[in-house]
């Protein structure tokens, strides 16, 4: 028996929790080198970045990678990342001493309407006693041509509180890329 009758618009006064807050977002109207959120307040416990993205790369089809940086630290060797990746045929476990989030956005040579997506959790970002750990779920699917799903982590070996967050592919973000930053409060 199908269940119908869940009419979302008929629900009034939806409960809004106070522990998950929107901080800032941007939807790009033209090709842009990077998206940077600055002056992130230390009033949350965790951050979450949610994006749909396409790179400006014209040298080949996707999937493409993008970098994540904290507090303008562009020294790749200050980061480590591990990823599990599936491409529909093979699986891989990837490690590198850098800040690259792998294989989850499309490029400018892919279908114009196809973007990749990622949800990135930055844990205990304001804590000054811990290195910072980031968890990533991302993927891009292009029907018959290709698909990649990735799950992984990025470590920034620094105890500084994160106040700036940067995401950028090697060859710019394409227009209509959308990136949003949220804060999650602790008790």
């Amino acid at each position: 028996m199908p269940i119908l009758g869940i009419i979302a618009s008929s629900i009034t006064g939806g409960l809004v929790t106070n522990s998950y807050e929107s901080i800032a977002s941007t939807t790009l109207t033209s090709t842009t080198a990077s998206v940077i959120f600055t002056s992130i307040p230390a009033t949350y416990t965790h951050l979450q970045v949610r994006l749909i993205g396409k790179s400006g790369y014209t040298g080949g089809t996707g999937p493409d990678n993008f970098d994540i940086r904290f507090n303008s630290d562009s020294t790749q060797t200050n980061y480590n990342r591990h990823f599990m990746r599936g491409n529909g045929t093979n699986t891989a476990a990837l490690y590198s001493n850098d800040n690259v989030i792998v294989a989850c956005i499309s490029t400018s040579l892919d279908n114009a309407d196809t973007y990749g997506a990622a949800v990135i959790d930055v844990l205990d970002y304001a804590n000054t006693n811990k290195f910072k750990t980031t968890r990533v779920l991302g993927g891009v699917d292009m029907n018959s041509s290709l698909g990649h799903i990735v799950f992984g982590s990025v470590l920034w070996r620094d105890t500084a509180a994160i106040t700036t967050l940067y995401v950028a592919p090697g060859n710019q973000w394409a227009a209509d890329t959308s990136v949003a930053l949220y804060g999650i409060k602790g008790a």
Binding site: M1, P2, I3, L4, I6, I7, A8, S9, S10, I11, G14, L15, V16, T17, N18, S19, Y20, E21, S22, I23, A24, S25, R50, L51, I52, M84, R85, G86, N87, G88, T89, N90, T91, C104, N111, D113, T114, Y115, G116, A117, A118, V119, L137, G138, G139, V140, D141, M142, N143, S144, G147, H148, I149, V150, F151, D176, S178, A180, Y182
Partner: protein, 164 residues
């Protein structure tokens, strides 16, 4: 929408009467992303399938990565009539979180990211990405099972997240 509290519950369904599908309709376009939490089980060893806006055309595809306790595998489903995240459940409790990204924009095709787990002996822990090749804003999501029905008491909860 101005910055501030979000992650708003929109609707919840608890299945009964051996339901074969669950539909959230008339979803407002006032959020940026949708999140659906499933906690339940299905009859037999089967999966959970998703469609948007009642589109039954071959406009969906998916790529998944999963582990069954012995090996990690990856697969794809292309030109399908639904998103099949390949995350087979069983009659034991299963859960997944589904992120439908930028569901109301009318510029891009729509992505869904999944993270799933099940404790059934013949099921998986895994992740998946699904694609709906349409630029239409999503206003309805339909779930159905490739098995017979959802076990009574399975829950679907729909949330909306609004960016600043």
């Amino acid at each position: 929408m101005a910055a501030g509290s979000t992650y708003t519950p929109i609707a919840t369904t608890t299945t009964s009467g051996n339901a074969t599908s669950v539909t959230f309709s008339s979803i407002p376009a006032t959020y940026t992303d949708l999140i659906i939490l499933f906690n339940g089980s299905v009859s037999g060893t089967s999966g959970d399938l998703a469609q948007f806006n009642g589109d039954t055309g071959s406009n969906y595809s998916s790529t998944f990565l999963r582990g069954d306790g012995s090996a990690a595998t990856s697969g794809r489903v292309t030109s399908s009539t639904f998103i099949n995240p390949g995350l087979t459940f069983g009659t034991s409790q299963s859960t997944y979180i589904m992120h439908i990204m930028n569901y109301a924009n009318t510029t891009t095709y729509k992505n869904a990211l999944y993270l799933s787990s099940s404790v059934a002996s013949s099921s998986y822990v895994g992740a998946a990405v699904g694609l709906w090749r349409s630029t239409a804003a999503i206003n309805a999501v339909n779930f159905s099972t490739s098995g017979t029905n959802y076990v009574n008491g399975s829950t679907f909860t729909l949330y909306g997240i609004a960016a600043a």
